[in-house]
Amino acid sequence: MITKEATPAAPAAERAAPAPPHPAKRHRPAWDEVPRWQIYLPLGVYLVFTLIPFYWILLFSLRPAGSTSLVPWPVTFDHFEKVWTERSFGTYFGNSVLVGVATLVMTTLVALAGGYALARFDFRIKRGFMLALLCSQFVPGALLLVPLFEIFANLQMINSLGSVILAETVFQLPLSMILISNFIKNVPYSLEEAAWVDGCGRLRAFRIVVLPLLRPGIIAVGSFAFVHSWNHFLFALMFLNNQSKQTIPVGLNTLMSADSVDLGALAAGGIIAAVPVVIVFAFIQKWLITGFSAGAVKG
């Protein structure tokens, strides 16, 4: 059972000073000593390889059906109009936003609570619990499909977005809790203690003192939960039947029939599916990198 607090991490000053560089170690050129082409050429090649598929999708989505031109000219938005209205992507988009945002909120809230418990308390099965969290990452969602389907069917949640949100949240939680707990471990315990001395309760101290310091971690966990649930196909396919409830990945899949595929519509659907993820990453990339690297190397 829960008996004692975890020992706060040792202050950085107490750690051993880094060893001096080995005298025989080869001199590494500084950034400004490296010829620019040695940096930009490989990056450029990599960029071209990365961008060509995106250009291809953009090309198919913007050029008229039947065109074989390598530039999207004359530009047409017919494919976008078709998928958005005729193929119900407007509805799918709304559903995906709802699933993504709800998963983000639920995952973040529960991961904060669970991560705090893992970081600040010692309890008898803590190590086993952490191990179980890690092991749960090895279980593919497809393996649990039938039991989950039965549970949701018995709870009358089949064909409800709630089932997808719940399943996505549950699958996101283990990794999110581990990440958040590492972030919390890096926040000095003395800060919380100072807040308690000033009259705060544990919850208020967490909200006022710890939470603002967890911003990179919250953004990392939240964006990961959003993007994963946005792209995830299996649960939405299996738990949702009604077309008005389906999400973007399932909608994309229905653009390919058994014998025929409308590549223009498929490309336009792909762009619609990708844009929110690109926007999310563009806004949060700074915090995301900080968040993942901090969570990875500390704790």
Binding site: G66, L145, F149, I151, Q243, T254, S257, D259
Partner: protein, 452 residues
């Protein structure tokens, strides 16, 4: 500092007990079988009124036409509501399999020949022989298609799915490129090989043919093999040994696989139908083997006057042999609580007018005999020729063993990588076909044993 979580044992036990109780309750409800899961036992004839659910096995592109048919049905049967669920063809089997195990099957759904054996083996489908015998549809459906679905249903001759339409292999070729090169229609295999070679100018990125090397490659290779060898049955006389590795088929496959990279793009190695069709529609390839389903894609790419779709080339002695394409159909799921209404929907969807409407949209051959006589068939040349090939006796159809539960695995996951090795010259055609034959013979023996 004392930890605030260090409270009395009693205080900690209460939430733990509540949590444990909730988990047990959830588990109990999850395990409680109401008869809706695994196979079918909880169904009922129902009142023939109320709501039924229909799962479309090729949702997306067919959604609009099904919604139109459903609207007609609801107008004709105001006391029945049909909920339409469109499911992509690639995911249909896994969705139905999950629902068979976990519950939540629809009342009626698309059940094509390729999936029929699996669903029937799980006892998920309602036998429909008696219903069809007592229906106005009796005698008005294409008998070959009915027999094909009976044969695919597990071997006891029971009808689990009523045919809606048939597909057929088509050789599409670019009339403008043929005319320019002074080539005649590729109606024989010799003409096909000659055209493939003459239309190829690899340096200019022009190719005579595009071969299917990725997903779905085996069915297409079988079509080419049996078409050239002229062998008309998939099994030999005693029905225990497949003819797949007959020396004539081996020779045919060697010739066919040798086309790869000689008259086809190198990228064909990973061609599934999507890439193959997209590649042909890009305009620099002379011929393509696919089925009726992609006709509209080619019309969008070229217009109707730059290409034709004809049945597979004729083989030795002018005899045309093709392998069967899966017949599509509709089945009633055994767990349906309203089988009467589900059957009414099937009857309606297969009526002359509705079946004609559906197949005109899908570009396939109607199962309803009156619908197959409608004027639109003769306006769509590939469909007309395919319908003729299937009905006028000019073509022998080699029935593939869709009834074998292992057929999908053998013809896809198990052997598609080996076919790629054949194309690359890393495996001989004989070695490949011997492997396939061994697996098929084993599957057939197992199936015979199970049948008793």
């Amino acid at each position: 500092m004392k930890n605030s979580m260090r409270s009395s044992t009693g205080r900690r036990r209460v939430p733990a007990a509540v949590a444990l109780g909730a988990v047990l309750a959830l588990t109990a409800t999850a395990c409680g079988d109401d008869g809706s899961g695994s196979g079918g036992s909880g169904g009922a004839e129902g009142s023939g009124k109320g709501k039924i659910t229909f799962w479309d096995n090729n949702g997306g592109v067919r959604t609009d036409i099904w919604k139109e048919i459903i609207a007609d049905f609801e107008k004709a049967n105001p006391d029945i509501d049909v909920e339409y669920v469109g499911i992509a063809s690639t995911e249909y089997q896994s969705k139905v399999d999950t629902a068979i195990q976990g519950g939540g099957l629809p009342d009626v759904g698309g059940v094509g020949a390729a999936m029929l054996a699996g669903f029937a083996a799980q006892d998920a489908l309602e036998p429909l022989d008696d219903r069809l015998a007592g229906s106005p549809l009796d005698g008005r459906l294409n008998e070959d298609m009915v027999e094909s679905l009976k044969a695919a249903g597990g071997g006891d001759g029971t009808l689990y799915s009523v045919p809606t339409s048939a597909n057929n292999g088509v050789l599409y070729y670019r009339t403008d490129l043929f005319e320019k090169a002074g080539l005649k229609e590729p109606s024989t295999w010799d003409a096909f090989y000659e055209a493939a070679e003459k239309l190829t100018d690899a340096g200019a990125n022009k190719f005579g043919y595009t071969i299917r090397g990725g997903a779905g490659s085996i069915a297409q290779a079988l079509d080419a093999m049996y078409g050239q060898s002229g062998i008309t049955s998939f099994w030999n006389a005693d029905g225990k040994q497949t003819t797949v590795n007959d020396p004539k088929n081996v020779e045919a496959l060697e010739k066919y696989a040798a086309l790869y990279k000689k008259v086809t793009p190198a990228a064909d190695l990973n061609n599934d139908f999507t890439k193959m069709v997209a590649q042909w529609d890009s305009g620099t390839i002379g011929m393509l083997n696919h089925n009726l389903g992609s006709f509209q894609d080619h019309v969008k790419a070229f217009g109707e006057d730059k290409f034709r779709g004809i049945p597979q080339p004729a083989g030795p002695g002018g005899k045309r042999v093709q392998v069967s394409n899966p017949v599509d159909g509709l089945g009633v799921f055994k767990n349906s609580k309203n089988k009467e209404a589900a059957w009414k929907f099937i009857e309606f969807a297969l009526s002359h007018e509705e079946n004609s409407k559906f197949n005109r949209s899908a570009g396939q051959v109607p199962a309803n005999l009156e619908a197959a006589e409608d004027a639109w068939i003769s306006e769509s040349e590939p469909t007309k020729l395919a319908a003729q090939a299937l009905t006028d006796g000019s073509t022998t159809i080699v029935q593939l063993p869709y009834y074998l539960p292992d057929w999908n695995t053998i013809s896809k996951a198990d052997n598609e990588p080996n076919f790629q090795k054949v194309l690359l010259g890393k495996m001989s055609a004989k070695e490949f076909l011997d492997t396939v034959a061994e697996q098929l013979n084993e599957a057939q023996a197992e199936w015979d044993e199970q049948k008793g």
